[in-house]
Amino acid sequence: MAEPFLTLKNVSKHYAGVTALDNVNFEIFKGEIHCLVGENGSGKSTMIKIIAGTVPPDPGAIIQIEGQTVHGFHAIDAIHRGIQVIYQDLSLFPNLTVAENIALGQFVAAGSKMINWKELRQIAERAMARINIRLPLDALVGEISIADQQLVAICRALVHGVKLLIMDEPTASLTRKEVNALLSVALDMRSKGISIIFVSHKLNEVLQIADRVSVIRDGKIVGTYPSTELNTEKLTHLMTGKKLEYKPFVRIVNQEKPVLEVHQLSKRSQYRDISFKLYPGEILGITGLLGSGRTELALSLFGVTSPDSGEILFEGQPVKFRSNRDAMGMGIGYVPEDRLVQGLIMNQSVGKNIAITTLDNLVNHFGLIDRNKLRNTIHRWVENLAIKVPSVESPVQTLSGGNQQRVVLSKWIATNPKVLILDGPTIGIDVAAKFAIHEIIRNLVKQGIAIILISDEIPEVLNNANRVLVMHKGRLVAEFDPSNTSPDELQNFMDTIE
């Protein structure tokens, strides 16, 4: 068991003026579950790409597999040696069946010309049996749940005789139950001698399953530790190099008239009987596991979807949104969870991304855009939110995660909202930028804006919200007062809900 499967020595990687990896030493044993944690931009993905052979390391690096030093390592070599990566997008074929997705690659690799459908099914069934799961062989992969798709990806790796399986953020879109199922599959594979590298930012899951954890920061491995020696606080400290110190936030909320009121709001298979009040100047935190219906609720409040039953009252008046444009007209804004696709237009300029929500306010009598007004508005937001960018014409994709989120925030603040819904606003953003965004949010409520803060990071909600609502399986199950709730208490509650 104590035999290393893969060893990295002196692995570095430089791009034009950027050091992605700096002298990394890493080792994983056979039958070990090893978690790799690090912030966005820490070098995690570069390291994975080097292990998978898709990117070559700088000269001087030594890669050893099962004791043998390998040279000129390419992706195909990695595959031959049993290294398989399951990327976050799973790389499956949605238009082919489960059986085909699992077994087709086998035929391709063997150089066969014909397909033997019976054999194909047998291969797929054998793979599924190895980890004790049953999936419908003839279902199209595009039509099954994400959790099942993940299992298909794992089966496919098994078929290729995987010895080291690398999974990149595998639990990002899974519900608690599905996460547990996945983790038990991983444990099963471990007992069969397969090594697994888990890349994840869900620290409690990491601690639950890892044998050892390696922390990577700024391209260097900060250290490798047995998971028994760690807790989330230590891990966060190692990942960020800083101690997370939240400044206490004293807020005064005018509890007279709620700006938003929700009564018994329900939407089939998304959320049920949701009722709450939101006051101006308040930050209302909503937390809960994936699949609890938080985002679905937010989308109905924003008008993208409509509830089946129940009432929404905005400033005392019942409203029915036919689209998010109606909601925006009333003064509701939404910062989406998926920044890259829903929040920003990546290859367009920062300026256009900021102006997109308020174009109609920037026209003159002829209906033409007032260029001066446009320029001034854009520059004002860049300044107000301290967006670091060489030019407002730069495409938004050239910005860091934190700056990108500031662009999203500025386009919403520009609409003068009365209610702003933030869905996972600091996901994938490094610590310093996280705090900066919290500052921005706190400044907003000082001006009387009400904020709904949806997040699954417990410290984030506890330290910023006036009240925290917990959703579970589409219902509101609890309300917590941050001033007398500890993070562990809340975490415990979430872990034990059934």
Partner: protein, 335 residues
């Protein structure tokens, strides 16, 4: 049972059946073997093109240069027939046409794959290149007067029957050639690795790349199959009308693509079946035949085809939207 209704092909089949019933009610001559055999024979051209187009669409691309390719292969073969007709036989003719088509198709594939140029733009360009050069070299001349054996071949029936008036009719050998092409295509798509790989590439090219599929080989295969079918089709055309004209085929490519899409293939790739394609071509064929039998003036033809495309593709798109999972957001249909 419910699964049958999730297939696009079911709906096209229903449409074909309904249309046939309507036409037969107006003119019973429609549902006779004589009429149907003749119809199949005259649509063998479109049908053969459709086999190649299906391959390209499944792979996620599109090709509108195939009529230009067919014009070149047809013209070359015609010139050979006129110059050395007695030394050739039908198999050789098909082979030569097919191989020239393969070569031209490979040029398409190379440009699309190596330079990452979208297939629509590439094939718009190559269509004009091929057609332009051919027209100049041929000087617009129509070719006819092929050897006797060539015109005899066109008349061969696999089996012959006689109608009430005493005239013989039959299931043409040309139709059989089209059916053979469809059978070959169906077999490749269903039972060979390369066929399934085409589906995979069309479903998600990035995944196919990561999984080690030979994308270059697949591109070459798909576009040269299209070229091959174009070659075969051009010989069929020559047999049917016993002339080859430089401008006969170009302009009809979009009709063929429409037929294949009607049959269930999607422009974004990954779906489509040979049976569906056959149904799509049949629908177009029956529509045209029906209009004639119902004595609708021929210029209404295009109007009906256009309407049919819009209605049926519109209906199937709408249906797909309803069926798609309860995920809330408007899907990212990057067109």
């Amino acid at each position: 049972m419910k699964k049958i209704f999730s297939y696009h092909e079911t709906y096209v089949l229903i449409a074909v059946v309904i249309l046939s019933i309507v036409i037969t009610l107006v003119n019973p001559d429609f549902l006779t073997l004589e009429n149907l055999f003749g119809l199949l024979r005259s649509y063998a051209l479109m049908g053969t093109f459709a086999v190649g187009v299906l391959f390209v669409l499944i792979s996620g691309g599109i090709d509108i240069s195939f009529t230009a390719i067919a014009t070149i292969t047809g013209y070359t073969v015609a010139v050979l027939l006129l110059k050395a007709g007695d030394k050739l036989n039908i198999v050789l003719i098909f082979l030569i046409a097919g191989l020239i088509g393969v070569a031209l198709g490979m040029i398409n594939a190379a440009i699309i794959y190596f330079f990452r140029i979208p297939s629509i733009i590439t094939t718009i360009a190559t269509m004009n290149i091929y057609y332009g050069i051919l027209t100049v070299l041929s000087q617009g001349k129509w070719l006819y007067g092929f050897p006797q054996w060539f015109s005899d071949f066109a008349e061969i029936n696999v089996f012959t029957l006689t109608n009430r008036g005493g005239t013989p009719y039959g299931f043409s050998l040309i139709t059989l050639i089209w059916f053979a092409a469809m059978l070959l295509g169906w077999f490749i798509l269903r039972y060979t690795i390369i066929g399934r790989s085409v589906y995979a590439m069309g479903g998600n090219m990035a995944s196919a790349h990561r999984a080690g599929f030979n994308l270059m080989g697949l591109h070459l295969f798909v576009y040269s199959s299209m070229g091959f079918m174009a070659g075969i089709a051009s010989v069929i055309q020559a047999l049917l009308v016993q002339t080859v004209a430089p401008n006969a085929l170009v302009g009809k490519e979009l009709d063929v693509i429409a037929a294949v899409v009607l049959g269930g293939a999607s422009l974004s790739g990954g779906t489509g079946s040979m049976f569906g394609t056959f149904l799509g071509v049949s629908l177009i064929a029956i529509l045209g035949n029906g209009l004639t039998l119902m004595h609708v003036p021929s210029f209404w033809y295009k109007v009906f085809i256009g309407l049919t495309i819009l209605l049926s593709v519109g209906a199937s798109t709408y249906r797909r939207r309803l069926f798609s999972r309860q995920r809330v957001i408007i899907e990212e249909e990057v067109r």
